[in-house]
């Protein structure tokens, strides 16, 4: 009988580069920033790392494929390095690899690092991904906002939400993240933006305007994991352990059958249920202190609040407008600014989320520090709502 990952692996150290339009840095420099911070935090030397997982999405546009770019950038001498890619869930996927390696007893100390260099494409936004030779034959090539914007009509028709209320709620999502980004020195955007500006911004894909879309950024984030015993032996007193790590991938049911009504993300719900079970969480509304979720678009964060059980179905619009997920609300979400303001270098994002939760749990979040944090969650969503990969981690103090 599988016992799950709970408390078998502790985070020894984490690092995160400055996110943003890093004209000054390529992916090796970004990885170095995150790596050196993590090494110092862990209090270990490079040679103590026995295995590494490198997450990067767009091999064709920036870093290059395989694990070699990471092994060379960080001079990971002779150890096994694996490259993983799972769209926007890539960062969490890298953490999962390293965590499982430690939990299995195969290695004592493992590294997970994600990096993305999106600003070497020559244009704003994400480059269109290759869908595969078969899907290319029939699947329309919509942009990411077009994929997520389609949550809106389904959601509205299911819950009878007016266009105006939904627009106000998703605008509040972005407004809140901008408020938080002000206190996040490594964030891409550190500027507050008014509701009026957000609501009247140019339309990208109805109802998503410019401010409903996350930033396209360069960046890297990194975690060094080990067993709680080794962490303590290395002198760590407060330990953040991994309570759950779950992933759910679409099998095509949402796109090919009428089982799914389009108002939620099925993979998030599946992954969340398993994660709560693994972590022993029975009431996420009261047991989770903070969350970093995949706010690639504001509408995604709105439905994610319901998919994770933070809001009852159909109530996220009201909870958001009531400030439940604001910095001073009951369940602060995106306290570091989220993808919206901290930025979204795809392969690094899952690890960036874990970095914020880790620092909040340890009381090291500076101006952003929340009080009484015990359990934090990260949520990554790769692909599109109807065909994607949800990755969830639950982190907590032992």
């Amino acid at each position: 009988m599988a016992t799950g990952i709970k408390d078998k692996v502790a985070i020894l150290g984490m690092g995160c580069s400055k996110f943003g339009e890093r004209w000054d840095a390529g992916s090796p420099e970004l990885m170095k920033e995150a790596f050196e911070e993590a090494l110092a935090d862990a209090g270990i030397e490079r040679k103590q790392i026995e295995a590494a997982w490198f997450g990067c999405w767009g091999d064709g546009i920036n870093v290059g494929n395989s694990s070699i770019p990471a092994a060379m950038a960080l001079r990971l001498e002779g150890i096994p390095v694996s490259r993983v890619e799972n769209m926007c869930a890539t960062g969490t996927e890298a953490l999962r690899g390293a965590t499982y390696a430690v939990a299995s007893g195969a290695v004592d100390i493992a590294l997970a690092i994600g990096a993305e260099k999106l600003k070497d494409t020559g244009f704003g936004g994400l480059p269109p991904p290759f869908k595969g030779t078969f899907n290319d034959l029939w699947m329309p090539m919509g942009s990411a906002p077009a994929g997520f914007a389609q949550l809106a009509p389904y959601y509205r028709s299911k819950y009878g939400t007016s266009k105006e209320d939904l627009k106000r709620a998703i605008s509040h999502v972005s407004w809140k993240s901008h408020q938080n980004g002000v206190h996040s020195p490594k964030a891409h955007f550190q500027k507050a933006v008014s509701m009026e500006t957000i609501m009247s911004a140019p339309m990208i894909s109805d109802p998503l305007g410019l401010f409903d879309c996350s930033g396209v950024s360069d960046g890297s984030a990194c975690a060094i994991v080990t067993t709680p015993e080794i962490a303590r032996a290395l002198g760590k007193k407060d330990l953040v352990t991994i309570k759950a790590l779950q992933l759910a991938t679409s099998s095509g049911r949402e796109t090919q059958t009428n089982d799914w009504d389009g108002s939620y993300v099925a993979t998030t719900r599946v992954a969340a249920a398993r994660a709560y079970q693994e972590a022993g969480i029975t009431d996420p509304k009261t047991q989770v202190s903070l969350s970093e979720v995949h706010d690639c678009f504001s509408i995604t964060e709105l439905v994610t609040m319901e998919d994770l059980g933070f809001s009852d179905d159909g109530r996220a619009v009201f909870d958001i407008l009531d400030g439940r997920y604001d910095r001073d609300g009951a369940m602060p979400c995106q306290i570091d600014g989220g993808l919206k303001c901290f930025g979204h270098p795809i392969g690094a994002s899952g690890l960036r989320m874990a970095y914020e939760v880790y620092n909040q749990l340890l009381g090291r979040a500076g101006e952003r520090q929340l009080s009484n944090t015990t359990i934090g969650m990260t949520h990554n969503l790769g692909g599109v709502p109807y065909q994607g990969i949800a990755a969830i981690s639950v982190l907590g103090l032992v």
């Binding site: 030779t133 034959l137 029939w138 077009a146 090919q256």
Partner: protein, 479 residues
């Protein structure tokens, strides 16, 4: 002798229309004389339409949902075939679901290609789908650009349920070069219109008509409908007058269509058949390096044989547009700045295309033999019960009605006709898939709107000159 002739017919005209006044206005600075031609609207192809896609739609209209199994040959006539060496008719045959045993060929190289292909099929004894489909391009500010149009007509020729039989014909061949287009050119070079009219149409056609009437043992007075396409205004009336024809001279479909090259004679024939009464005789002329003349007589079955859409339905199903630049861009007349996103490779894996042909060409979803779920695409296991695909049976989605579940207008992605309308479509059979929606007007499209399927260019590989075709959805009628 068993009866043999036209059994079914249909047509397709692109929905996109532009008032000729908009074309004349765009060129007013250098060709003010075009204003004199600025009457009515012309049809133009969307970026994803060509002789193949229009041909498929006309053939589907002719079939009217009936079984395609009786068609033994598919002949496609056009002067704007997208491929010089890749049989265009074969692509059409696969899309309409014809059996692999069907004979296919392209007919090209002349304005007479459509009538010649029809005549050839009528002289054979094989059930044949004859399609004329053309999209002639005129240079900006030319008389051709403003008078040309686009469209396709299709005829099933067989011994079953004949609605119009061929009672006489004649062909005359010469090299009267009124215009020409070299193999690598996109537009025509033409000679003085007065010479073409007086020495060409007025002298060549009457000779061929006389020969055809003699073949049919008829006199001109026995003919009720005179059908002669021409890109020259008034040419048909002049020839009819010279022949002392006193019946009805068929409309040149100037308004709403425009001269559609090698398809035009067949479009005019289809439009005439839509109105013809039992017993009426129709004289059809095809002109170009000589002339074809075909004389038909409608049977009693004509009354029940009107196509679902036809020419009249296609003309009525118009989506007015207001930008000359859009028409010019679709015709390849301007190299706009499409941004870096358009740099994405459009390369088609020809191996994959061939492997998936059964699904992609005829738009076949699979019905699970175990749980009945209809699904597209067909992957290795059922999406619902995971039964292996060996238990699937094909369910063609191309003629199924569907409705919009969700849609969005995507202005960010590269699309030759922004925005890209995309969303989930639900078919009557229960299949659901993400599809492109085309020919959407300014007011967009709402959840629940009824859709039908159309065969279109999925992606143009501009680097290699290869079009990948697939099915898209469109509102039942232009809105």
């Amino acid at each position: 002798m068993t009866d043999f002739g036209i059994s079914r017919f249909g047509a397709y005209i692109p929905r996109l229309r532009l008032e000729r006044a908009a074309i004349a206005a765009a060129h007013g600075w250098m060709a003010p004389g075009l204003k004199g031609q600025a009457r009515g609207s012309r049809a133009f192809t969307s970026w994803d339409e060509d002789a193949i896609t229009m041909g498929v739609e006309a053939a589907r209209d002719a079939l009217g949902g009936s079984d395609v199994a009786w068609v033994k040959a598919v002949r496609l006539a056009s002067t704007s075939l997208p491929y010089a060496d890749l049989q265009n008719a074969a692509i059409v045959a696969r899309a309409i679901g014809a059996a692999t045993g069907v004979a296919t060929s392209d007919a090209a190289g002349s304005q007479r290609a459509g009538t010649s292909a029809l005549l050839q099929a009528l002289k054979g004894r094989e059930t044949t789908m004859v399609i004329g489909s053309d999209n002639p391009i005129g240079k900006p500010a030319s008389v051709q650009e403003i008078s040309f149009g686009a469209g396709a007509a299709a005829f099933v020729v067989s011994d079953r349920d004949v609605v119009a039989r061929l009672v006489g014909s004649a062909t005359l061949s010469n090299v009267f070069v009124d215009h020409f287009r070299s193999a690598d050119a996109t537009s025509d070079y033409g000679w003085e219109e007065r010479w073409v009219r007086d020495e060409g149409y007025a002298k060549i056609v009457p000779g061929a008509v006389k020969a055809a009437l003699a073949d049919a043992q008829l006199a001109i007075g026995d003919i009720q409908h005179f059908v002669m396409p021409s890109y020259l205004k008034g040419a048909a009336d002049a020839v009819a007058k010279k022949l002392k024809f006193e019946g009805s001279v068929a409309s040149g479909l100037e308004d709403g269509v425009g001269y559609a090259g090698a398809a035009h004679a067949l479009l005019m024939l289809a439009a005439t058949l839509e109105k013809a009464q039992p017993g009426e005789r129709i004289l059809l002329v095809g002109f170009g390096q000589g002339a074809d003349v075909l004389i038909f007589q409608a049977t009693d079955a004509i009354v029940a044989a009107r196509p679902v859409r036809g020419v009249a339905g296609s003309i009525a199903d118009a989506l007015p547009t207001d930008s000359y630049m859009r028409m010019l861009s679709f015709a390849g007349g301007i190299e706009a700045e499409w941004g870096m996103r358009s740099e994405k490779s459009g390369k088609t894996a020809l191996t994959e295309q061939y492997r998936s042909a059964d699904q992609m060409e005829g738009f076949n979803a699979g019905r699970c033999g175990s749980c009945d779920t209809v699904q597209f695409p067909q992957l290795q296991y059922c999406v619902r019960c995971h039964a292996p695909s060996e238990q699937f049976s094909n369910v063609p989605l191309r003629d199924e009605q569907a409705e919009v579940l969700t849609s969005t207008a995507d202005w960010l992605t590269y699309h030759p006709s922004p925005p890209l309308w995309v969303g989930f479509v639900r078919f009557d059979s229960g299949a659901r898939m993400l599809m492109e929606m085309v020919d959407i007007g300014k007011q967009g499209i709402d959840t629940g709107a009824k859709l039908r399927m159309v065969y279109r260019i999925k992606e143009k590989d501009r680097q290699r000159g290869y079009n990948r075709y697939f099915w898209k959805s469109t509102p039942l009628s232009a809105v």
